[in-house]
């Protein structure tokens, strides 16, 4: 497929479909001799689609399971249940059942950009070797060393790295430049899908903006699909086409960015938004008071998992777990009282 054709591909063509994805981590057994095994439900039946060429933002606080979702899709972890289908050019592939050599080979379709630009680069390899690793690890295309060098240089240039620096080691670089190296490594194999796991969280503000712009430019140029995981709502708002909000292993609200940020329908989304301090001394900072803390995922409350902190909790919320319900334009909310919230927000 040529670049022009790729860019013309319709925006609502699905790249990844996730259905009831589950990832439970065992945390030992109840009772001394076996008995029932206990789990932390890090990801608890999560469903969503990602369209080709779009950026889906995934936000949530610590313990929400957002990082686990990303890593489960990349098969850094093996999901314990559910379906995840990846529509490559050669037809759909079931991500959950891929194993061994097949999985190693499939990895060129998907990549990850890490949070910590220090820990994610092997300090003992030159920048050239780091970037070339996805090509050399599994040389499916059968490239020669010269061709690999050429690809590395091309990608490094795209990421605005100085080509003379390719034979340097990571210790020569600052955080922002290191993150460019991470991006180059992720993109050198021209993957269709890239998970950005808090990829700008560790960077200074003045550098962060540059990396965000770079990611957006590269996305357009190479037609990449992003899953952008972050806790910083303003960054997610800026970069995403659609946003999913997670709370303790579940998606509580998902929809187009504008819908989520201007017409949130879940009380948790509202609370999150109100808690973002704006750099404007005139803006009244009145965060919605959420009582208590995030529940332990090994010991979830009955009913809606937000009921321990929700300002508008009712008896029903303590009994019945709400499903995601559609409110048009792909805006789905898991709250029994989603209708009322929009009314309240307007007032």
């Amino acid at each position: 497929m040529s670049l022009a054709e790729q860019q013309e591909s319709p925006r609502n063509e699905k790249l990844i479909e996730v259905e009831d994805l589950q990832l439970y981590f065992p945390i030992g057994k109840k009772g001394l001799f076996g008995g029932s095994e206990m789990f932390v439900k890090a990801v608890d039946s999560v469903s969503f689609d990602i369209n080709r060429g779009e950026t889906l933002g995934l936000v949530g606080e610590s313990g929400s399971g957002k990082t686990t979702v990303g890593r489960a899709l990349l098969r850094a972890y093996r999901p314990t249940g559910g379906e995840a289908t990846f529509h490559t050019g050669d037809g759909p592939v079931n991500l959950i059942t891929l194993e061994g050599k097949n999985l190693q080979k499939f990895r060129r379709h998907m990549q990850m950009i890490f949070q910590d630009p220090y820990a994610s680069l092997n300090p003992r390899m030159t920048v050239r070797d780091i970037i070339a690793e996805p090509l050399e690890a599994n040389n499916i295309e059968g490239l020669s060393k010269e061709q690999i060098d050429e690809r590395v240089r091309e990608t490094a240039a795209l990421c605005k790295l100085n080509l003379e620096h390719l034979r340097r080691f990571p210790h020569a670089f600052s955080g922002g430049q290191r993150q460019r190296i991470c991006i180059a490594r992720a993109l050198v194999g021209r993957p269709e899908f890239v998970v950005c796991d808090e990829s700008v969280a560790a960077l200074d503000v003045s550098i962060q903006a540059e990396i965000i712009n770079l990611l957006q430019d590269l996305q357009k140029e190479l037609n990449i699909t992003f899953l952008f995981i972050a806790h910083d709502l303003s960054v997610v708002a800026h970069i995403s086409d659609r946003v999913a909000v997670m709370y303790v292993g579940k998606i509580v609200e998902i929809g187009p960015t504008e819908e989520i940020f201007y017409r949130p329908r879940h009380p948790y989304t509202r609370a999150l938004l109100s808690a973002v301090p704006r750099p404007d001394p005139d803006a009244e900072f009145e965060p919605e008071r959420l009582t208590g803390e995030i529940p332990n995922p090994a010991n979830l409350p009955q009913g809606c998992r937000f009921n321990t902190r929700c300002p508008m909790v009712t008896e029903r919320c303590r009994m019945e777990e709400p499903d995601l319900r559609s409110f048009g334009e792909g805006h789905n909310v898991a709250c029994h009282y989603a209708e009322q919230i929009v009314e309240r927000f307007k007032a």
């Binding site: 990895r107 690793e133 690890a137 599994n138 020569a172």
Partner: protein, 381 residues
């Protein structure tokens, strides 16, 4: 002024480029170099190893060559100066041996009037066989009078040259340490590697097994095993048996360290990044994990050296390890273990200084290496 500033500037840039393109080993070396004590330790050890390996060349006499005229003779120190004036060539005074009329013991007495000069790179006429590779009689130094002998550290009860014996003993003791460490390293690498990479119940079983070995008190065990050596074994056989025992008992500590390194590295982001790049487990281990821990492993090896050397010394000292006519530091010390030696020939304890210095040097070297082993700690942040 501007040109000097310019060259200064370009030199700074070149330095920076050199630093930025420096590999892990260069960075480790640069850091290690700054550690003065460790550098001294390294030089001392290197000297010991070289003189030990080439003992035939550095020692003026063989380890068992006797000088019946000079029993228990005191150390002779080469001089440039005596009451007869200055000489550019170092010399020692000749020795005359007389029998004490009362105790009938031979007493070696230096004769301040005779000078015997030292000759360097001397052909002594006494042939040695260098590891069966070649025969030669070239030695670093000897006296130019073939009938006279020089004893830097004195002689023992049989008139053997303590200096030569110490050099040969260094070879034995260091090589026991080296082979023992290598053996335990191979075992530790396999066992610790399996435990660390697979984790789970494999790790659990191996860990418990390791603990069982670790709780056995070492000295009684050594004593038990070496007492079981058949007495008809030759010294070579005993030597190898001992290194194997040291190797087999030394691995648990090392295996734990290797397991620890592996476990901590498995959770590094860059290892995950390699896996996500499609690298096979073999490639992940060999290309991404191993290079970063070789430096730690070297540190661990250096640190475990002294334990084996001390074990050998202790065993031989109590008479359960190597036996004469082999020479090791332990044997030399054992020979000094009598009243007469303490009273009349304190130089027989010079080998003890070698043990102390060697152990100290290994420890200091290990310390310096440990500080340098992770050159990215500071450079990173």
């Amino acid at each position: 002024m501007s040109t000097s500033e310019m060259t200064n500037e370009t030199r700074k840039q070149q330095d920076a480029v050199k630093y930025y393109t420096a590999s892990q080993w260069q960075l480790i070396w640069w850091r290690f170099r700054r550690h003065k004590a460790a550098m001294v330790g390294a030089i001392v050890l290197l000297t010991m190893i070289i003189t030990g390996v080439f003992a035939e060349f550095f020692a003026p006499y063989g380890p068992t060559t006797r000088d019946s005229k000079q029993v228990y003779s005191a150390p002779q120190i080469p001089q440039f100066w005596d009451h007869n004036g200055f000489s550019l060539r170092p010399f020692v005074h000749g020795v005359t041996t007389k029998r004490d009329p009362v105790t009938l013991r031979l007493i070696a007495k230096p004769d301040p009037e005779t000078r015997i000069y030292l000759e360097f790179f001397a052909h002594t006429g006494e042939d040695y066989d260098f590891f069966g590779l070649f025969k030669s009689d070239l030695r670093l130094f000897a006296l130019d009078d073939p009938k006279a002998k020089i004893h830097l550290f004195g002689t023992d009860d049989l008139g053997r040259d303590v200096f030569s014996r110490v050099l040969y003993a260094s070879r034995t003791s260091l090589s026991v340490g080296f082979i023992g460490v290598m053996l335990s390293f191979v075992l530790a690498l396999v066992i610790g590697g399996i435990a660390g990479y697979y984790g789970g119940w494999t790790d659990y079983t191996i860990q418990r097994g390791t603990e069982i070995i670790r709780v056995i008190p070492i000295i009684p065990l050594y004593m038990g095993i070496s007492a079981a050596f058949p007495p008809e074994w030759t010294n070579i056989q005993v030597y190898f048996a001992m290194t194997i025992i040291f190797g087999f008992l030394g691995w648990p500590t090392l295996a734990r360290r290797i397991r620890g390194h592996l476990l901590s590295q498995r959770h590094e982001d860059y290892v995950l990044a390699a896996e996500l790049s499609g690298a096979s487990p073999y490639r992940v281990i060999s290309k991404h994990m191993l290079p970063s821990f070789t430096s730690y492993i070297i540190v661990d090896l250096v640190i475990s050296f002294p334990y084996i050397i001390l074990s050998e010394t202790a065993l031989s000292f109590i008479g359960l390890g190597l036996r004469p006519p082999s020479v090791s530091w332990g044997i030399l010390l054992q020979e000094g273990q009598n009243v007469r030696a303490i009273e009349q020939a304190p130089w027989l304890f010079i080998p003890a200084a070698f043990v102390v210095v060697a152990v100290l040097a290994f420890t200091i070297l290990g310390d310096g290496l440990r500080d340098a082993a992770d050159p990215y700690q500071v450079a990173d942040k």
